[in-house]
Symmetry: C2
Subunit: 138 residues, 2 copies
């Protein structure tokens, strides 16, 4: 049994975040000492590691909630879990696509400036003021 600080160190999840996860129902309510401090065992450690890994991969708290539920009901869990992962993947791909469009536009705008600093018309500002100067929609 170890403290929340120890759990935090081992998982690299900050202490208030652990409490937040408990409040959100991602972690079961921890056992307490006589003095009301939380104590954890390896089960808690594993669950928090799972949560952290999923968060790192961009899964929402809600999605993680679903995944945790699925862990507890192994029948049909794989299909549903794969769905959630696939949806997360689609999300990530959509974000990449959008960001690539932005990258193109921003690098075009940035390059447009001659770096002179003395020109009375700044291409960056002009581009932002007038969407017509853009290559694509974004």
């Amino acid at each position: 049994m170890f403290s929340i600080g120890e759990l935090s160190k081992r998982t690299k999840v900050k202490v208030p975040t652990i409490r937040y996860y408990e409040e959100m129902g991602l972690l079961p309510e921890a056992e307490r000492t006589a003095g009301n401090q939380r104590r954890y065992d390896t089960a808690g450690l594993e669950r928090l590691s799972f949560i952290r890994h999923a968060r790192d991969l961009g899964f929402s708290i809600e999605a993680i909630s679903s995944l945790i539920e699925l862990q507890d009901h192994p029948d049909r869990s794989c299909e549903a879990a794969t769905d959630i992962a696939a949806s997360q993947l689609a999300d990530v791909r959509a974000k990449i696509k959008r960001l690539k469009t932005l990258e193109k536009e921003l690098s075009r705008i940035s390059k447009g400036c001659d770096g002179d600093g003395m020109s009375e018309d700044c291409y960056v500002l002009a581009s932002l003021a007038d969407h017509g100067l853009c290559d694509q929609e974004h």
Copy 2:
């Protein structure tokens, strides 16, 4: 002179968002009718278009604030504006990089499942539980 609703239609920025921008200082306080309703002219329209375009490109409210200040002080503005745009570009590129790592990992995890749905060990759940199964850090 036109109403906030008209401005909203022309810029495709929602009415509460316009009020929010005013509160945040991105838009100057609008003139008012005798009955306290906001009225705008083309100057307001242009500034809001600028803001919307910059937001679409992912600039933060704070960055836009700086850009607007620069508009009003044309000396040295180009250098500073280019800096802000470059920093935004770097941000976007960093995000793309991170998302690409996630994409790889997620597609690997998703493919790991045989789609059977009957296997007692779900690869998605196993992968999330054990970071050691991952190819890379993320």
